[in-house]
Amino acid sequence: MYGGGNTFEATKAEDLEQEDAVKLAEFEARIAQGEKIEPDDWMPRLYRMQLIRMIEQHAHSEIIGALPEGTWITRAPGFRRKLALMAKVQDEVGHAQLLYSAAETLGKSREEMLTDLINGKSKYSNVFNYPTYTWADSCIISWLIDAGAIVNQMANSKGSYGPYCRALERICAEEAFHLKYGHDSVVFMATGSPAQRQMVQEALNRWWSQIMTFFGPSDKLSVHTETLMRWKVKMASNDECRQQYLDMYVPKIREIGLTIPDPHLHKNEQTGQWEYTEPDWEEFRKVINGDGPCNAERLGVRRMAEERGAWVRLALKNPTAKYVRPLA
């Protein structure tokens, strides 16, 4: 679900002049022709590092994103909602598995990725550092955060790296249910009793600024961004994704009588662009760097699962194992 472009500042600039010029030209020609890159192909270091970072973050976001929603499974209103939410959360964890494997084809092991997650070295989508106070918060995530993730993932599925495309194809197919389920559960409350309407409006009020930060700050235009776009690693700018999202979802939110808590939000008919109150990027930076309401809880829970499950993995360990990275 959660491929947020939110922490997408580029990896340390790599000097492309250090790369083999002939191989680099072949690599770029392949992408220009619309061919996919497969794990055995030569690739520039910057391409490899940026993809590892991006796919790994995407995987962490899936596994951490399962926590704020999973917390509502036991308290879901009714058996049908409970079944659906369980299935959805299971999907998210499955997506993490697919993505860790896709990142692994680039040379970083799953052990390293999980260690970096728990030690705070790699990031996940910042929206999951906020709590889900009520059932309605989990509905808003299922609909409107998943919707954002789908905008991102549809763009990325047209990228150049074969294993990531294969994983995203499977993920996008499963997300169709999440979006519909999320929409249904929000609509159910928004068209329900006054108390239900109030509850879902309050959840929207809490989540709107997180939704606006979901795609990340405006990209700084740099040579680097241009290179990553040419290599079809980054498929759309953060602002393009945000605009597309507002186009698609503002009408759907308003048609069910909910109010978006931003009095400045409107579409400028001349430019065709949405104008809005800038979210608090200072807070965004503070939270993503560890100082948010749920950072400690999210990593604490992940670490607990890791440490308390260690004996099971140790008992199952095969002493004759030899590591090779996944093939595709």
């Binding site: 392949r30 299971q90 709590p131 994983a167 197919a173 249910f177 519909k180 670490r303």
Partner: protein, 213 residues
């Protein structure tokens, strides 16, 4: 002090609050080896590459694979292979056939009898490998040559995988009822949510309210 959460289950875990020392890096193989999984949508369709799973052995890999790759879509069979048991050719360009450019020598000290090998082709980069057939050979190299003779012309490929049949854990015919769980879980299908009807009804009611005011 333990960590405070809105979730009572997390409070019951008594997780430590405050800064923790960094976790020791996970040891090699803590996440096990990888297996590659092939799935078949229907009885007549070929087995197609689904993706990898991490597992301590083939049986567990099969269980994980079933969860991961057959949970949400039609499936009538699964194959599971330890990644390092698959021999992989180089990758050609999309407009080329790998069999035209890749050569291997058949080792001289091959041993009889023939063993069975499974052959998989990748038609186009970014797509998934598909099973094209089974051949008998005395080595991976010979299997490559025989695959070339048998499949290269009819099924051009940018990449081919070959694996000994005995190294493929295959779902059994007599267990086929394990694939019958999907229809019970309609709540995982987008079509199960008739949200537009509800929105339409809501809008009509709002209009009525506005008229009667």
């Amino acid at each position: 002090m333990s960590l405070k959460s809105l979730d009572p289950r997390i409070n019951r875990m008594n997780l430590p609050d405050g800064e923790l020392p960094p976790m020791e890096p996970k040891a090699a193989f803590d996440q096990f080896e990888t297996f590659e999984v092939f799935a078949r949508k229907r009885d007549k369709t070929p087995f197609t590459y689904a993706g990898p799973v991490h597992a301590p052995n083939a049986d567990v890999a099969f269980l994980f694979a079933k969860e991961q790759y057959s949970r949400r879509s039609a499936c009538s069979g699964l194959w599971v292979v330890l990644t390092r048991h698959i021999m992989v050719s180089p990758y050609a360009n999309d407009d080329e056939n790998i069999y035209d450019s890749f050569e291997v020598e058949i080792p001289e000290d091959t041993t009889w009898p023939l063993e069975s090998y499974e052959v998989f082709h990748l038609k186009k980069r970014g797509k998934a490998h598909t099973h094209v057939g089974r051949i008998g050979a005395t080595s991976y190299q010979e299997a490559y040559h025989k695959a070339k003779a048998a499949f290269a012309a009819e099924h051009p490929a940018v990449n081919m995988w070959v694996v000994k049949s005995k190294n493929v854990l295959q779902s059994a015919e007599e267990d086929r009822d394990m694939w019958l769980t999907l229809p019970e879980k309609k709540y995982r299908e987008p079509a199960a949510y008739k949200v537009l009807d509800r929105i339409k009804k809501f809008k009509e009611e709002e209009e009525q309210k506005a008229l009667t005011k």
